[in-house]
Amino acid sequence: MYVAVKGGEAAILATHDLVAEMRRGDTSVPEVSTAQIREQMSLAVARVMNEGSLADADLAALALKQAQGDAIEAAFLMRAYRTTLPRLGSSQPLDTAAMAIRRRVSATYKDLPGGQVLGPTYDYTHRLFDFGLTGTSDAPPSAMPSDVALDTRMPRVPDILGAEGLMEPETPPEGDPRPFDLTRDPVEFPADRDVRLQALARGDEGFLLGLAYSVQRGFGGNHPFAGEIRMGEVPVEFVPEELGFAVDIGDLTVTECQMVNQFKGSKHVAPQFTRGYGLAFGHAERKAMSMSIVDRALKGRELGEAASYPAQQDEFVLYHSDNVEAAGFVEHLKLPHYVDFQGELELIRRLRRELEERIAREAVESGVLPKAAE
């Protein structure tokens, strides 16, 4: 029940000032710039772009600064800003095979065409503090380039197995339809794969990580292999109405994960490897991997698998993966519910009174008088 109440304006204005002061922290410490966040906190920036569902590193850096580093609050700022912008159209589907690769690894093939390229990763660091970073350095770090550059076209690993017919093919449905857009139309269940992938792409990394972990631990029954993880820059092409042909509007950094799963086959499908797909803005490997495992789990229905676990249930996953919606509903509980609570209080009091009256009445009827009446 909603009842309009007034008051609190002065308190709210004062809290805006106080939060600004808290955001700035100790003023004897230099203020961080959004360019510093963009350049030096790029993994946090990637997370905000993904969960805010808006690829713009400058805006994501501003969001992180304004939200004091709170990734979900920052994603909320991105979503809110997005609604103020006109949608100018859709891009051509990204061609991740044309990626300028900075990292590309496969856990299924050692000697794959193009090779294993570790790129920038924390995977092989010792997770020991580098106390040198507590100060600032005059000499910027520099990586030595190799004499020979990587090939610009490296085959995607599932395409290699696909050539043998052992891999579930990924081909567009008849007519290559426009994808569903959950920012425009309400989602219905069972949800198709385009709906699921869009929801997962903007879903909370922690939630998807937990679900992916549950699948691996047996609450989903898949044994995934990281067929390929690649990260780098892909050109974005857009067809302006005035021109009628595709123009290259710049590069986006993306991370792609192709997860390969064993599949024993069913009545209609021969035994083969099946795939899960993850794609994220920026360098966001954990997100892309989690997304690909959950994508595969959600494909169970199409493959005739029983949906016995949470990660296999599209309604459960899609309704709970959006952290801006989830945070809104959980955190709205801290807003005033005075009237609702008064109602509940009245109800509890009445029920207790009725119970007491019934006990007293039954005591009289059974001939046992309450003590106070003796």
């Binding site: 808006l54 589907p93 990292r103 790129g119 030595m144 395409d159 794969r193 385009d194 123009v247 509007i249």
Partner: protein
């Protein structure tokens, strides 16, 4: 247009300065920032899906001789979009060798930056070797 889209505003300003400022032009569509929904394909080759939006800024101009210029680029830089659109028109209508050389130099610099990133990545490529048992 791809080169202009990837250029920094300051790089374009230097080119404009060498031209002695922007030529006369009419702005047909003022620089406007919006979003483009980025599409991808499941598994890289399959069903299309909406990955999320990206900011994009566009601008359309016409030069005095009637040549139209267009700018479409990721990001929110509206001043850059105007300069890009005018340069796009000039590149079609003008035979100014200096301008074409400047853009070619910009394209080369972008290619070199990309090659350097690919060479740095190549330095992290794994060379596997197999450990052979001694008694063979």
């Amino acid at each position: 247009m791809a080169v202009l889209a990837r250029a920094r505003k300051t790089e374009l300003d230097e080119i404009v300065a060498r031209l002695g400022g922007l030529p006369d032009h009419v702005v047909l569509k003022p620089a406007e920032t919006g979003t483009v929904m980025v599409e991808a394909r499941a598994g890289g080759t399959g069903r299309r899906f909406n990955m999320g939006e990206a900011t994009m800024t566009r601008c359309v101009v016409r030069l005095a001789d009637g040549t139209m210029g267009f700018a479409y680029a990721l990001g929110t830089d509206r001043p850059k979009a105007l300069v890009s659109a005018v340069l796009d028109a000039l590149l079609q209508s003008s035979s100014d060798a200096g301008l074409h050389d400047d853009i070619a130099a910009l394209a080369r610099a972008q290619t070199e930056a990309r090659q350097l990133a690919l060479r740095k990545a190549a330095a992290t490529k794994v060379d596997f070797f197999t450990l052979v048992r001694g008694h063979d």
